[in-house]
């Protein structure tokens, strides 16, 4: 056995790093304060000038009247907020169904074995088809087509078809996200589990999936953001949700302010989720770097 312990890279690091790191951080501490101040000042000036130019341009009163009508904004907001509740319900119900259905599809596609071939084929076709088609098309076909068959016992509620359509559209994407996660878990993990006598399903359930899902949480959240916005697409089949409501108000007043109110609602809802996702991604990257 060799005994070269004292020459490891760790020892070198211990000697060299601390003084260097300390000096750098002190200097960057003062520098950071100064850059922040400059950034604040330049941002203030930049946006100030931009706003001044906009407000003083010749078309501004017209724009203000058509898009930023304060009175109409206040009047339309309660209806719009109430209609948004429909989007929220759509989002949560569809999201839960998507998370389950997509996982089932991803797992089906990951399990080898000739017996499951028909199911693998079916899920592959499903993913291919639903990723290829425009969402609006699917919403139309389901929302108008199926109730139009007038078959006894088939639901006619557009909300029902809205949920089904969004679930089918998004499960195709989300199953691919899951599958990427499953593929990213090194085969040696599965081998270790199988070598202990765990069945294929147990290895997947206890060893592969927990690691896979943890890794794909940021991309999953990204898809949630997309879904949150795409809930407005179901307005096409007669679900009175936030976009449909703002259209109704807009048509009544010939004024675009209700759309701005709707935009504001989405900004308030989506930006925090997007920021949270970014933060998760950055944290995972830091952790991966720390473990290396």
């Amino acid at each position: 056995m060799t005994a070269l312990g004292g020459l490891g890279p760790r020892d070198r690091g211990d000697v060299l790093e601390p003084p260097g790191r300390g000096r750098r951080s002190r200097r960057s501490g003062q520098g950071a304060l100064r850059s922040t101040a400059i950034a604040f000042a330049s941002t203030f000036v930049f946006f100030g000038v931009l706003a001044w130019v906009a407000v003083n341009s010749s078309g501004w009163p017209l724009v203000q009247q058509s898009f930023f009508n304060g009175a109409l904004f206040a009047e339309s907001l309660p209806d719009i907020a109430a209609a948004f509740w429909v989007n929220v319900q759509l989002f949560f119900i569809a999201e839960i169904l998507i998370l389950v259905l997509a996982l089932v599809i991803a797992v089906l596609r990951s399990i080898p074995g000739p017996v499951l071939f028909p199911l693998r084929l079916l899920s592959t076709i499903y993913v291919d088809v639903f990723r290829a088609l425009p969402g609006v098309l699917i919403i139309y076909i389901l929302g108008f087509g199926i109730p139009g068959l007038n078959v006894e016992g088939v639901p006619t509620d557009p909300f029902f078809y809205a949920v089904i359509a969004l679930t089918l559209i998004y499960s195709a994407y989300v199953s691919e996200v899951y599958r990427a996660g499953i593929d990213s878990v090194h085969p040696s993990q599965s081998a270790a589990a199988r070598s202990l006598g765990l069945s294929q399903w147990q290895a997947l359930r206890y060893v592969v999936l927990p690691q896979a899902i943890r890794r794909v949480i940021p991309p999953l959240l990204n898809d949630f953001i997309g879904l949150q916005k795409d809930t407005v697409l179901v307005s096409y089949i007669g679900v009175v949700e936030i976009f449909r409501q703002s259209q109704i108000t807009e048509a009544a007043h010939f004024n675009y302010t209700p759309y701005l109110a709707t935009a504001l609602v989405f900004l308030v809802m989506t930006i925090p989720l997007a920021r949270f996702t970014d933060w998760l991604v950055a944290r995972d990257r830091r952790r991966a770097a720390a473990n290396r």
Binding site: M1, T2, A192, S195
Partner: protein, 258 residues
């Protein structure tokens, strides 16, 4: 399911491999391996990288499908068609070069996963057994830690304990010290030595020649997918008959590993 054919005649053999062949594509990695281990025997496989040591171990654990030949564990043919591989693997533990602990589980859960899910032990029983095993290797205080908080040597010892928790009849060790920093090798080898003294039947692929000489009841020199020479360690290391064995040991010695 149990087939007791000609080759299986001796149920006394803990492991018997007959005419094992395995290819990856056009590359023939194992070209007719015959090997027999009796209970409590420790056999070390030595040989250059690529000689087939790891593949042989993975075949015995049924992690690789074999092309030809038969493998018997205590008289039962495990390569027979329709055999329940999960049941077989329960009896054969394997420890890998790269530890392969489950990073999302605590040390305790790593050790108790298979006893709980496969042997259906209660959480309390599985925990008690795991703590006992971890105490024996001095890592019971790390039971709640995650693997990435442990040194490589500690991780590998946990991996060994994880295999032991299934009470295997046979333990396969696949170059278990090759991924370790030199100063961490000793703790793992001393655990393996303890297991050998305790009577564990083991098939060990290793580059640690000193260790092999020390611990093995028999040493097999693998060359290009065949067992070229086998015998007691004194004979293999002091008076190898085959020229290739001599050359291999010469190179090992020049590298200061013997």
């Amino acid at each position: 399911m149990t087939s007791r054919g000609d080759a299986a005649g001796d149920a006394a053999a803990a492991l018997r491999i007959v005419g094992l062949r395995k290819s990856f594509g056009t590359l023939e990695v194992l070209r007719g391996i015959d090997l027999r281990l009796v209970e409590h025997e420790v056999v070390c496989l030595i040989g250059a990288s690529g000689s087939g040591k790891s593949t042989l171990l993975r075949c015995v654990n049924l992690l690789e499908p074999i092309d030809e030949g038969r493998i018997f564990v205590e008289g039962e043919e495990i390569t027979a068609p329709g055999v329940d591989v999960d049941r077989i693997r329960r009896r054969i533990g394997i420890v890998f070069q790269s530890f392969n602990l489950f990073p999302h589980m605590s040390v305790l859960d790593n050790v108790t996963l298979a006893p709980r899910r496969v042997l259906k032990l209660s959480r309390a029983d599985a925990d008690a057994q795991a703590f006992e095993l971890l105490r024996r290797i001095g890592l019971d205080d790390k039971a709640r830690e995650f693997p990435d908080r442990l040194s490589g040597g500690q991780q590998q010892r946990v991996a060994i304990v994880r295999a032991l928790a299934m009470h295997p009849d046979l333990l396969l060790l696949d170059e278990v010290t090759s991924a370790l920093d030199p100063e961490l090798v000793a703790e793992v080898l001393s655990l393996v030595r303890e297991l050998a003294l305790g009577g564990m039947t083991m098939l060990i692929a290793t580059h640690e020649m000193g260790f092999a000489r020390d611990i093995a009841s028999r040493v097999c020199f693998l060359d290009a997918g065949r067992i070229l020479e086998e015998g007691p360690p004194e004979q293999i290391f002091r008076a190898p008959r085959e020229e290739r064995t001599q050359r291999f040991l010469q190179r090992v010695m020049e590298a200061g590993r013997l």
